[in-house]
């Protein structure tokens, strides 16, 4: 059910790697659990993130949750559209609801992430 070209974390972030750029967002499962998202707080461009570091928060009508970097890297872009349209995360979590782009620091970290089948299995347990 989740796109097979992405990698996933146990914390429900996804990452898409193209060249040395990684695009990051949260999964459809996460948005279903959170409900209507009303605010996304993202880091400044140029911020260096370590794998597993908190990079922002996502606020829904129910809760505020931390966002964790799936891999290490420097923030090269954030999705400015989310400041006025946070609902894009609910509508297209893998498309226009993306959150940030990183310059990949260590591609081998991708191996520690889940593939779509493993992530589907994780959610089936939940």
């Amino acid at each position: 059910m989740n796109p097979t070209d992405l990698r996933y974390t146990n914390d429900h972030e996804w990452v898409r790697v193209e060249g040395d750029t990684a695009t990051i967002g949260i999964t459809g499962f996460a948005t279903d659990q959170l409900g209507d998202i009303v605010y996304v707080e993202l880091p400044a461009t140029g911020t260096a993130l370590a794998q597993g570091a908190t990079f922002g928060v996502v606020e829904s009508v129910k809760a505020v949750s931390d966002l964790f970097a799936p891999i290490s890297g420097e923030v090269v872009a954030t999705n400015d559209g989310l400041s006025s349209q946070p609902e894009l995360v609910n509508q297209e979590p893998y498309g226009s609801g993306w959150m940030l782009k990183l310059k990949v620091a260590d591609a081998s970290e991708l191996d520690s992430l889940l593939d779509a089948a493993a992530y589907d299995a994780l959610n089936a347990e939940a």
């Binding site: 605010y39 707080e41 400044a44 606020e59 829904s60 009508v61 809760a63 505020v64 931390d66």
Partner: protein
């Protein structure tokens, strides 16, 4: 007579349900050294004798003095309706109205408080409410760090010393708090040194999250708030104005000079001066900072039947949901005191508040003139509203002698700034609309007597006091 809500059988049942033998077992996780030791209370006394003893203790408070003390807490006339309304039992509710379906009255009172303060400070967002001005100012400092993701705040030395101490307590060792020095001489003496501020802001190794200055400042002087804000904004820092709410009826509100946050003590709005509180912390900000402001926010909405309704909003960042990652651990909203401020403001209205502020300023000018007649000059030359400092050799001794004569001659500044030679032998004096011309004339007379009775060294230091008699 037991005053606790639980009977012995209640306790037994609860302990049995928990499977423990004593209440003490609930606290075993706390190291013994950190547990409260047993209270050492005196033996019980008959109520008659106890009441008499407590009355004796209370009688040691001096409430008969003609007071010229301000320094952060101000005497104002509070219309009788304020205290009378506060006596209504409906307001005596537990902390936070989490359930809108049973709390519309409380929620509406908080909504109205927030609306009134928003109008007064000229900023969109107001939270209700904080312990006091010092706590609100410290929260403002933390807000600027969260919003900018920087770790250094600059606070003017002319912000109330207790507020600066409280900021330091909140900041701990995790965040840096640096003081902006004051202009020492010339027409701007006693106000924030803009050149020094610019130098402090220029330290690119330690970027500044926020700049904090007070209007009027601790010495009663008016600060160049717009310029301070512009310097802060030029380096991407936020600007916090510490305000005295009554003054906002005649001074520019923070929103008009570019402040991002306003913090201050709300006591002046209908709350009597008390020995240490409880008071009311005001905290307000611009809309872009709404997710950084701690405390309760109440919004107006419509319920399922389309009727007007009030509800707490932006709840998701509060500590009951966000635990240790909440915007703050603030957990009271001082609702009764916020209500007092609301009733005060709507009772006297905008014109009334302007009269209060303007009359206080006029009385302070009268006080300055009366003191000048004794040869006592202001410490700083710049404009003030209703509070100013004067230099009097032997200030602490004179202050004490005036208490014997029934006058509270303001604050001995050296008591709060003991290491600062700039405030040695000075008094901070205040007048408000409750200060009368008779009070001022009698105070000047008593001061002249005290100065005349001073030892020779003090008389030499103030020669014109002799001429005035």
């Amino acid at each position: 007579m037991p005053y606790g809500p639980h009977t012995a059988p209640d306790r037994e049942r609860m302990l049995a349900t928990l499977g423990i033998a004593s209440v003490d077992e609930l606290f075993l996780d706390i190291p013994e050294a950190l547990r409260a030791s047993p209270l050492r209370l005196p033996d019980p006394e008959p109520e008659l004798e106890l009441a008499s003893r407590l009355r004796g203790l209370a009688a040691r408070n001096r409430v008969d003095l003609v007071s010229f003390l301000g320094a952060g807490v101000y005497r104002h006339y509070s219309p009788a309706v304020v205290d009378q309304m506060l006596l209504r039992g409906e307001w005596y509710t537990a902390y936070t109205p989490y359930q809108p379906e049973v709390s519309q009255g409380t929620l509406q009172s908080i909504y109205e408080y927030e609306s009134l303060i928003a109008e007064l400070v000229g900023l969109e967002i107001v939270s209700a409410s904080h312990y006091d001005g010092a706590a609100a100012t410290a929260e403002a400092g933390l807000m600027t760090c969260r919003a900018t993701r920087r770790e250094r705040v600059l606070v003017s030395r002319a912000v109330h010393p207790h507020y600066r101490e409280t900021m330091q307590t909140y900041f701990g060792s995790a965040l840096q708090l640096d003081e902006i020095p004051l202009v020492e001489t010339g027409p701007d003496a006693g106000t924030t040194d803009l050149a020094a501020l610019e130098r402090l802001l220029g330290d690119t190794e330690r970027p500044v999250a926020g700049v904090v200055a007070a209007q009027p400042n601790f010495f009663g002087l008016l600060e160049p708030m717009r310029e301070i804000g512009e310097l802060a904004h030029a380096v991407g820092a936020l600007f916090t104005a510490v305000v005295e709410p009554v003054s906002l009826a005649v001074l520019d509100p923070p929103g008009a000079y570019g402040a991002d946050i306003a913090a201050g003590e709300g006591q002046a709005l209908g709350i009597s001066p008390q020995y240490g509180g409880p008071y009311l912390g005001i905290l307000a900000c611009t809309e872009p900072l709404v997710r950084q402001i701690p405390g309760r926010l109440v919004g107006m909405t419509t319920d399922v039947r389309g009727q007007r309704a009030f509800v707490m909003t932006m709840r998701a960042r509060e500590q009951d949901i966000r635990r240790d990652k909440a915007a703050s651990n603030i957990c009271t909203n001082q609702a009764l005191l916020a209500l007092a401020a609301s009733i005060y403001l709507v009772t006297i209205g905008p014109h009334g508040l302007r009269d209060v502020a303007a009359t206080g300023a006029a009385r302070a000018a009268e006080l300055e003139t009366a003191l000048a007649g004794l040869g006592i000059e202001r410490l700083h030359p710049g404009p003030y509203l209703n509070e100013f400092a004067v230099r009097i050799p032997g200030a602490r001794d004179i202050h004490r002698r005036l208490i014997d004569r029934g006058f509270l001659a303001g604050l001995v500044l050296a008591d709060v700034e003991p290491g600062d030679p700039a405030v040695a032998d000075t008094l901070l004096l205040c007048a408000t609309e409750v200060t009368t011309s008779t009070d001022i004339a009698r105070f000047a007379g008593a001061l002249a007597e005290v100065l005349g009775a001073m030892p020779p060294v003090a008389v030499e230091a103030g020669p014109r006091s002799g001429a005035a008699r």
